[in-house]
Structure formats: structure tokens, C-alpha cells
């Protein structure tokens, strides 16, 4: 296989973790909506927590993206 095409395939494979990140972010916000629907008075406490969890989960996806960029452009 040519090195260039192998690089492209590897860069595509390297962003596969985005699957899990998508599930995780969806999970966070689904749970946030559910808990606010059950008890609207906790919204002020829960929202920063949800944003924190979102940022932590998103960082995982960004690491995968960075690896993909490194394979493509290094």
C-alpha cells in the first residue's frame, strides 16, 4: 500500500473514538434534561456540572482529532 493512502486511512480510523464521545455527550445532556424535568429547582446547581462533564468528554474527542491531524499533516 502507498504510504500516502495508508496515512489517509489511518487518519480516518483515528477519529473513531468520536463514536463514544458522541454517546457520552448525549448521555450527559439527556440526564441533565431528565433531572431538571423531575426537579426544576436544581437547574442552577446542575448546569455547571453538566458543562464541566461536557468539557471533559469533549477533550477525549479532541485528543482523537489531534492524533488524526498529526497523522495527516506531520
Amino acid at each position: 500500500m502507498e504510504v500516502e493512502s495508508a496515512k489517509l486511512i489511518a487518519a480516518g480510523l483515528a477519529v473513531l473514538p468520536l463514536l463514544g464521545v458522541g454517546i457520552g455527550i448525549g448521555n450527559i445532556f439527556a440526564t441533565l434534561i431528565q433531572s431538571i424535568a423531575r426537579n426544576p429547582s436544581v437547574q442552577k446547581n446542575l448546569f455547571p456540572m453538566a458543562i464541566l462533564g461536557f468539557a471533559l468528554t469533549e477533550a477525549v474527542g479532541l485528543i482523537a482529532l489531534l492524533v488524526s491531524f498529526l497523522i495527516l499533516f506531520r
Binding site: L52, A55, E58, A59, L62, I63, L65
Partner: protein, 239 residues
Amino acid sequence: MTNPMLQFFQKPLCQFGVMGWDLTLTNGVLFMFVSLFGVVAFCSILYRAQMQPSRWQMLVEKSFFLVAGMIGPVNDQLTKQVLPFTLSIFLIVVFGNVVGLVPGAFTFTSQLIVTMFMAIVVFLVSIVLGIKKRGLKFFKQFVPHGVSAWLYPLIIPVEILSFFTRPLSLGLRLFVNMVAGHSILAVFASFIAGISVISVCVGLLNAVLFVLEVSIAVLQGYVFSVLSSLYLQEAVKGH
């Protein structure tokens, strides 16, 4: 397509050294000074504080109480001791990220050495503060409550390992967020070629991504200071 990683290389602006010390002014150092002056100017608004606050004064007070609320009650003794440290970390990270988003500017938080240095400083401060406040009880945090004794050989190494990977994840997160965000902007900008419908659409998409990047820049500063104050709090007060 031009290489989107090229924007993260430091270029020397003027080279000089003192007594064998290399004090070259690179663009990273320049923008570090710019954001440092930004932080000082931002905080010195409080010298002209009024009873009826201006918008900028409200922003300073908001960020003060935001960072203070991460550690605990505002008039707590630990908060008073630790707040200058976490507030300056929060402000320098936020200013570095936001200044780096100005077109043509350099993001110094996209350098691994900068973010790892900040994370390691937070780590060392938490260890020193914890040992100073609690003495040998500090090491009790490696032994979780309610675990039967025959699990200790398994649990304690895991706890120690997770304790020492904290600065790694803290520094790496900020670095990766900044590098990936700026690379995405550069990659999408390189899709714009000539004047066509697709170029206009990609340009608009890039503008939306830019707004997202601004919010991520502030959010990452928030996350960095939340986690560092969490570590400090945990070291001083235990689980």
C-alpha cells in the same frame, strides 16, 4: 492545502542573550506578555471601583466570585489563602486563549510546555499545602474509606497512579483543546477557494466555529481552574 500545524511554531522576533542565558523574544513570549498586561489592566479596574459599578467592574467582580465559589465559601480561611493563586491561573488561561483567537496572534496555551508547567505548579502547590495543613494525614487519602484490608495492595497503587496522572491530564486537556480548535479553523479556512457558493457556505461555517472556539476558550479556563481548585481542596480537606 497548507499545513495547519505551522501556526504553532514559535518564531524568534529579536535574538539576544545575557551572560549565556538565551533570552530570545519569540512570538509566544510576546503574546504571553500581552495577556499578562491584559490581566493586570483587567484587575486594575477595581482601583476605580464605584458604588454603582460599570460593566467592566461587574465583569471583574463576577469572575472573582466565580473563582472564589469553586473553592468554597468566600470568607473561608482556605479560600482566602488560595484564591489569589487560582484567580490568576483562571485569568491568565482565559486571556491567553482569547488573545490567541485574534487573527494573526499566537496562542501560547497551545504550547505543551506552558500548560504542563502550569499543571505541575498546581500539583506541587497542592502537595505542599496538603502536607503543611494535615501533616502525615495527607497520605491517608490514598486509602479509601470502607474498603476491606485485603484489597489494599490492589487499591493503593491505583490511587497513587491516579494521583500522579492528574497534572498530565490537566495540562494535556488545555493543550489539546487549543491545538485542535485552531487546527479545525485553519483546515476549514483552507477549504475556501475562489468565489463560489461552497466557499461562502464554508466561510459562514467557519464564522460559527469561531464563535464556538471563543466559548471553548473561556470554558477551558473555567475547567482548568475548577479542577485545580478541586485538587487543592481535596489535598487540604481530604475526601
